[in-house]
Symmetry: C2
Subunit: 258 residues, 2 copies
């Protein structure tokens, strides 16, 4: 069977088991009705980005952007117990969209953006709707039922230290990529894949010494990805790939934040 | 010391040890003289993409795009004995440029493009100059002295089988990413990093069963990156990252093409 087309339904609109009828509206419905020319009787997949998904039958169409659907099956994919949250130094980067997409494909738990001393430009006060939309599009493509948490951390490294500390015990490990680390201080993929881990990545140009020192003082372990300076998004995807891989090999040695 | 700016000098223009004087011309010289406003006496780094690099002193300027340089030191970085050659199913992809850049950052030995049954569009007859230029820019950024070999493989999977077979023994392992492989048939990073390995990746949509069957018959091992369909460039970078990582951990169990 070819893969069913997926559509995103906001979590607050998700149907109760007892009354599994929903109205899909707006751009998702326009795509369904206008581009795919779906007809009553067609089956499609809806997901909410919070683990819920199901197969739905289109039962009625109203105008160009309202589709009434009845659930045929409702599923819940448990929240992943392990994965990476990347805290990325803000960049004026055309590659941010691309990284949002890859975070979904590779099961990142979250992407946080923070303003580093070498950041170019300033992040917005909070995650933008367009970032979430990019993640939704990626999840439709790869079939993930979960969207990464997106956020902006204020306060530079002090903000990161607060993120690492609270809620207490949420993170199993806290790391930073730092060009000051020994080049053989490579990440241990199994540790990255064991529990929830926070990985701080600087902006293009890396962390300032002061920033790395403050994070080290707060217990972040310094990691290297080798002698060559990798670009921001390369380093981020590299870490996601290692954790994704290790999560599938079954090694799970455990790791705790220093 | 901040990193020196790097400029690419074509291998055929590389100076002999006995007469270490070169003329840098064209866009690279225009950038040096026009953007960086280099002056006689300044030191810069030249590399040829074939392992040779050196520090040079600018001794004379002629017009806007001719710079005469004298070598201060000439180095040779040996050709990497191991690494990946990725054979990528052709896509009409805006992400090709991006992948060329990542291949340099992560030390790919080569990128080949081939026309798969599900390819959209047709690759050119041979590697385009603009691809190489993209690699040069990436090497300037990350300081690599080697550029990956770029090529186009004609003849679909039969072409890939010929690439794998000749020159005899060049490849230590031959693999394909195949959604038909068991989801736990993950690559062994240490094997990817041991010697030269060819990894075939289909276009968006993957390999046709006939293509996967022909490659399996020729000894390519089928690999999976897990249950989720990853995008073309995600899969490619994932493999490059695993090999790059394993090459730095020192594990080297060896692997031969079946």
């Amino acid at each position: 069977m070819p893969r069913l087309n997926s559509y995103h339904l906001s979590p607050d609109l998700w149907p109760a088991d007892a009354a599994p009828r929903v109205l899909l509206a707006g751009p998702e419905a326009r795509h369904l009705l206008g581009v795919l020319r779906a007809k009553p009787g067609d089956i499609l997949r809806l997901f909410d980005g919070q683990g819920r998904w199901g197969l739905f039958r289109l039962v009625a169409v109203s105008g160009k952007d309202k589709a009434e659907l009845v659930a045929q099956s409702l599923e819940l994919e448990p929240r992943p117990a392990s994965g990476l949250v990347l805290a990325l130094g803000w960049n004026k980067s055309s590659r941010r969209d691309w990284l949002l997409e890859k975070a979904v494909e590779l099961d990142a738990l979250g992407l946080l953006f923070w303003q580093a001393e070498r950041s170019q430009g300033e992040p917005p006060a909070s995650a933008k709707g367009s970032w979430r939309e990019k993640c939704v599009q990626a999840a439709k493509q790869c079939g993930s039922a979960w969207l990464p948490d997106l956020g902006v951390v204020a306060g530079g490294v002090e903000g990161l230290v607060r993120v690492a500390a609270k809620p207490d015990g949420w993170y199993d490990g806290c790391y930073m990529l730092d060009e000051g680390a020994p080049v053989d201080a490579l990440p241990d993929p199994a540790s990255l894949a064991a529990g929830r881990n926070l990985v701080v990545i600087g902006p293009e140009g890396g962390l300032e010494r002061r920033e790395a020192g403050r994070l080290a003082q707060a217990g972040f372990k310094a990691l290297s990805l080798g002698p060559r300076p990798l670009r921001w998004e390369t380093a981020a995807l590299y870490c996601l790939g290692l954790a994704h891989f290790a999560a599938r090999t079954g090694r799970n040695p455990g790791s705790t934040c220093a």
